[in-house]
Symmetry: D2
Subunit: 327 residues, 4 copies
């Protein structure tokens, strides 16, 4: 469904080529200073424009329409809208008969009986991550002691990002990448067993972002090649600091006071500028499809601020849920 | 929290060394034939006993105490209990001052102010997966057209599982492994965007299982090394069947009718039989800790039926949620 | 929180004197014809203008910004906004020091540490019911076999509504009233025990409407004066039709196929045009407060379409939840 | 569904004539002293035995099977079971063809396709309120500053309870009653708008109790006969204390620091010892049904501790949810 979180809860809506995308945040404490400008730092980091990103340029100006009064949050739901301005008026109905490989076109048509807004991916579009980024900026404000940082570590299997992107652009193909996120300053105790552990909630929201194919915490998949002796993080002081951090800051699903660390796998952009052989549901034959229009050569370039945002949302939610023993 | 799912919902409870572990299933349709024996197949697959698993042997007999009448489900909540019988009466209180590396001992003590049941990991114990397996057996019954199969693919980085386990046993160490799960017969359309996509819900519940450190769908992390042309799964017939299955059966977070495919990384068991240097909170110094007692050398050996169970729970839940356009 | 419902779920936001009020509906099936005009019938019924209602006139034009494509719902979240246009720019800050009797001013200030938007009641304003009415119009479309009708039965204890309102107006006072709601065409089986019974969910949402002080189903409070023999509704045919309907169409918390029937108590409007003695938190003394501005003499006049809307929301949600025995 | 609450959450299960009824409480803070004896006070108040209550006598001994260690709560889910011992082995299958008036027999059969456990009402039985009472006793412990008191005020329209019950017994009929509940010591600010207001949550859980037909807060239905001037509660000191309490301690859906006050209408017990004319689904004719067995002449006699329990559950949950402005 369109809602995530319990005590810091977000509800998302909108489509790529509809009037707006937006998000409502419920559970933000009152009194948090909030100007639209405060949201712009992360929004600009997510924006396209760099080499390898889509030429669709949107102003991405947030409009806060509720929950803020005298430049401070009120405790009531905060709704933020982003108008869709730069919408090409081309005909997308071709997608219904000849769905694009790797996209949601086919399943969305089936699931929604053909009534889905298929233009630019509709509700499945990466454009909705803009709303997540705005919510994340607010989440960051309510866990000010936590610093979250996500970085693109490699693309197309290469650590030389510029070169790999340039090569993909030239070959009219696309590439994916790996984004690593760390967070420092996390108190011990975030995460609610059994089903609300910190990595469970993080992975749920990470896989809500389009194009994600994997997530691993700490040593992750490499941990399967280690022995217990190598993998165990031994505590070295009374704060619970560990000598190594193979666990990625999580023990028993709960933050252990060490840095949170995880990596996500971003698939290559599904839209490519080379022809593809795929099924045409109208003709009933496999035909060549050439996808026109604007798209990111490497969507992974724009993912880091989105990963930071969803991490902040989870940490803000878990912080507000944490059980207090005081009676 | 202790609840997962919306229309097929499970609520879990119990501790390793308490009286019982158990689970309540709400939303099971009425009229499903259900005997305790039906639950035993998967329970026995999860059971210890093989080389590399713990010598703690439990009868693991399920007791269905509600929701079943005349050997059929009634539509009311189904509660299943498993008594804990084989509990060693040794003193576990040492864990509070000298927590075991890799375990939840330290964070649980901090989060629950020292009131947690620390014996055998308490609420954090892998013993609770027994309850998940029982719920999974019921979930499988309500999606009978789907076949789920999880297999251990490698341990300690080796494909020769027996040999690797034997070696770890001999060296009094532990190893992890990779479990692969596939599911066939899934209809198109399971998964509820934005936050309830099929991989989002699967990953949430997978990370609720102790010892999980990573998950990847389809080509997963390897997808980051592929081009879009290589990674895209081209549709080849009118059912939506694709030539390749790099997406692991998921498009836009929704099942696309091809086989669901994912892999999980299981860390090496935290308890090992060799001494470890770690912090003693009472003495305030780093000391050698030797963990006595029974434990699995390779917990990954027992994970496949648990992964199947949680997969069945997610698929049952999403099947019951799926929006029907009929008015 | 700001969300209600499970399979037909609404999330509300906005303030009386903010930019807009609005609502997001998640779980509406795809393919439902929806024009903004479709929403106007109920919106106009809720509108002020009649004698005894506030002179604040708003255009109340709904703006559907997501979830509708080609005049049909898409299955994605539907967000509807209503701009607040007719906002008097007067200074409301006096409310903080001298809260209005019967209003939320005092508790909102305390709960939200003085950061709440207090203008016109802010998030607590009856203006948010406009958004509920819009959602209710959509809900009605997805349970087309059900007819819901709410009527004002008495005001100020009198069945002569016009006369009683006129008298209250003349005395610069306010009055409440009783609204009765019935719904026909309800299938047997709506309502999910234990906590999601039909009257449980109805009462929860009814009490979310400002000014509600009581609710009773069927014979309601009068049932406490009847014997079991008098109160029991005996079934008279194979459809489950009962001779009497003291139960108000509900047995065991589940719709029984007879007409749903309930009554709600609406308190007299808190704002009155006569001076009131109440505490001034700045001066620390009890002082006379005269509330200026526009208000409804009898808010109950405008309640029936709101009651119908929330009833439709509950029935739509329960209809979509109802367990289907088909495997 | 079977779950209520968010931060102090209960999940209920069991049937009247199954093996047990029980409840799981999630979100109880760690360190709360808890013995089974602590639960007995309220359990004994709910017990039958007095004139006008059922002769079915159960031991009602709670068994705490998880979440408590060393006589204190651990922070993990607490599950409490009550065995059903005194079950008459008579044949209840007659209920399927000739459902009892006023009971859930008919709707349960329809909703659950005939698979429901119909013995003694099954999951719809008042016996499940025993589990609520146990959860309520725990809830009371975590809001120790609040005192909740529910009393039976009248039965069958009479304030002379003993006499009215005696008369109903003699006439082999049944009667209902009105229970009034007040709670003192409630802090200002409990209740979460828009849909989680204090009276919304209270009414939801009250209507989950079998036999409830109405609820009113403060002046309730009588408020509809008052003017605003009469009804408004004027604040008289800096704590927010009001001169009158027509609002029942609730402003804008939030506790205002004055006593919470509400009344509930309990219908006459559906089972009576006189013959009733009702439909026989097997013969297809209206026939005389005589209900044999044990039942309460006036179930309202046993309702006060149940009302207290659900009130405590709501107050505990809202207390733990309350937004804290501290960042």
């Amino acid at each position: 469904m369109n809602t995530f979180g319990r005590q810091f809860k977000v509800s998302i809506f909108g489509e790529s080529h509809g009037e707006s995308v937006g998000i409502t945040i419920d559970g933000c404490p009152p009194g948090v200073p909030l100007l639209t400008e405060d949201l712009m730092t992360d929004i600009l980091r997510r924006k396209s424009g760099a080499k390898g990103t889509t030429p669709r340029i949107e102003s991405d100006l947030p409009q806060i329409i509720s929950g803020v009064f005298n430049h401070k949050t009120t405790g009531a739901p905060i709704t933020i809208l982003f108008a869709n301005n730069n919408i090409k008026s081309k005909d997308y109905s071709n997608l219904l008969k000849h769905p694009r490989p790797g996209h949601s076109d086919f399943v969305a048509m089936k699931k929604y009986k053909g009534f889905n807004d298929y233009r630019g991916g509709g509700y499945f579009s990466g454009r909705l991550t803009l709303a997540l980024v705005a919510a994340g900026s607010i989440a960051k404000k309510i866990v000010p002691h936590i610093t979250i940082s996500a970085k693109l570590k490699e693309v197309g299997g290469s650590k030389n990002i510029d070169e790999a992107v340039q090569k993909a652009l030239e070959s009219k193909n696309s590439i994916g990448g790996i984004v690593e996120c760390s967070a420092t300053g996390i108190p011990i105790g975030l995460g609610e067993p059994f089903f609300g552990s910190i990595h469970a909630k993080l992975s749920q929201i990470v896989f809500s972002i389009p194009a994600m194919k994997g997530i691993e915490f700490g040593a992750g998949f490499f941990a399967t090649k280690m022995t217990g002796e190598e993998h165990n993080d031994n505590i070295i002081d009374e704060t619970g600091k560990t000598e190594t951090n193979n666990a990625g800051g999580i023990s028993g699903g709960i933050s252990n006071g060490n840095d949170l660390l995880f990596r996500v796998a971003v698939k290559p952009t599904s839209s490519i500028s080379t022809p593809q052989e795929t099924y045409n549901f109208e003709s009933g034959t496999i035909e060549t499809l050439l996808i026109e229009g604007r798209h990111d050569t490497c969507i992974a370039l724009r993912v880091p601020p989105v990963i930071e945002a969803v991490t902040a949302i989870v940490l803000a939610d878990l912080s507000r849920i944490m059980i207090d023993a005081k009676l």
